[in-house]
């Protein structure tokens, strides 16, 4: 199989990740629940992983690194901590349902800082304008899961700091390839999955906290157990129940893999593959790829449409030829409306550190064969 759906999950994992998951299942029990060796081993794993994440993402203390089940979980905590029912949030035009659905559930006013795709100047101006009316929070993806557009998050964070409005960063597509420094950004929260660019298993995620947060769930934390309110300190306040220890072991190994390989090298590799894919697609007269004029604005994600063909049909034809891509709206109807592709959606190709130029060529051959049998 040629796997080109890493924006959903990096399917190929480093061997160290698989080994860490297995080792955790063999040697670790519940962290924070006992003084015996297997509980201690789990506790040490959690602390190592929090410390590593804090160092990687510019968080001042490991206590501010919260384990979640996904970026969606983290975004829900962040949004529901900052935006009251009926409140107002400013969002980028490229947000995922993980942002827009919680806001909808809160009956919040969602002010979209509308700007054309891959246009940084217009994007910053749109946020500037939206911020004049104030908001409870700004929620902005670091990179679009549909088009791979890397937004000017530093500039947007600067606007938020000057306006005194908390910023929530959705780093779902950027964690592991773009630098993220919570302290420099001054962000209230950043949420990321463990199973994409950090190469951990599904069911893992991180919420980096720079502001007070409210739990989505209550339950046991192994601390302050006499109190019936959740602890008022992190990370326990947001981590009720037993942790996903094997998942976190895999996440730690994934984080170490990224740090060793370096996000810069991984991004360079992914951009080379995406450029190759875009060039190949551009040579097909009935195909429209959505690419940034400036390479630095696009990560390892590329959408395209085919004249007269539904994206699902194209994806199905590719699947029959052993190529895995994702078609449709990618859980991001707002992004598709903003990009002008809402009517049909797109076919999305996305890569990781493990895909190769030969696989991109194989995908292009399969697409040509599917479109012109």
């Amino acid at each position: 199989m040629i796997y080109l759906d890493s924006a959903a999950t990096t399917f190929r994992k480093p061997q160290s990740v698989r080994a860490a998951v297995l080792r955790a299942m063999q040697t670790m029990s519940s962290p924070g629940r006992g003084g015996y060796a297997s509980a201690r081993a789990a506790e040490e794993l959690l602390f190592r992983t929090r410390s590593l994440a804090a160092e990687t993402f510019g968080v001042s203390s490991p206590e501010q690194v919260v384990f979640t089940t996904s970026a969606t979980h983290g975004l829900n905590i962040a949004i529901k901590s900052l935006v009251p029912s009926g409140g107002r949030a400013i969002v980028s035009p490229w947000e995922h349902n993980a942002v827009t659905r919680p806001l909808h559930a809160l009956h919040a006013e969602m002010a979209v800082a509308a700007a054309p795709l891959f246009d940084d100047d217009a994007c910053v101006r749109a946020f500037q304008k939206a911020l004049r009316r104030g908001a409870d929070a700004v929620i902005c993806t670091d990179a679009s899961n549909v088009f791979g557009y890397a937004l000017p998050i530093e500039e947007i964070a600067g606007l938020c700091r000057r306006a005194g409005i908390p910023l929530i960063v959705d780093a779902s597509q950027s964690a592991g390839v773009l630098p993220l420094d919570m302290t420099a950004l001054g962000a209230a929260f950043a949420a990321m999955p463990g199973h994409k660019g950090l190469y951990g298993p599904q069911g893992t995620g991180l919420l980096l906290c720079g502001a007070a947060a409210n739990p989505l769930m209550e339950g046991g934390t192994g601390s302050a157990s006499l109190a019936q309110d959740m602890p008022d300190f992190l990370p326990d306040r947001l981590e009720a129940g037993t942790h996903n220890v094997p998942g976190i072991a895999g996440l730690e190994a994934g984080l170490r893999f990224v740090r060793e390989k370096t996000p810069e090298r991984i991004l360079r590799h992914e951009r080379r593959l995406i450029r190759r894919a875009a060039e190949g697609l551009s040579r097909m007269s009935d195909v429209t790829p959505y690419t940034a004029a400036e390479e630095r604005r696009q990560l390892g994600v590329l959408s395209f449409t085919v004249d007269g063909e539904s994206p699902e049909d194209v994806a199905e034809a590719l699947a029959k030829r052993g190529v895995a891509v994702r078609a449709g709206l990618h859980c991001a109807p707002l992004a598709h409306r903003s990009g002008g592709t809402a009517e049909t959606g797109t076919v999305r190709v996305s890569v990781s550190a493990f895909e190769t130029e030969a696989e991109i060529d194989g995908f292009l051959r399969a697409l040509r064969a599917a479109l012109h049998p």
Partner: protein, 83 residues
């Protein structure tokens, strides 16, 4: 043997204290403790010998990591003391 118990709000907090003491020559031991020590239910402390406590306290102060409480445990009883 007399010693000090530095109580923590969470396992992560006690681990942070222990981490700050690494490479300082302080031999600190993480211990699970109950309500009798924490007053709030299950919890964690760092146990440090009386001899090593001054170095431990200095290091934690300089790292900006404060325990919830410091208990001095001696043969004649337990007394709360400032860091």
């Amino acid at each position: 043997m007399d010693y000090y118990l530095l109580t923590a709000r969470s396992i992560t907090h006690v681990q942070q204290m222990a981490k700050a003491l690494e490479h300082t020559g302080v031999n600190a031991k993480i211990r699970r403790v109950g309500t009798g020590v924490t007053k709030s239910g299950c919890g964690y402390t760092l146990q440090v010998s009386e001899r090593q406590y001054p170095r431990c306290a200095e290091r934690l102060r300089s790292a900006g990591i404060r325990p919830v409480r410091v208990l001095h445990v001696t043969g004649s009883g337990t007394q709360e003391v400032p860091l």
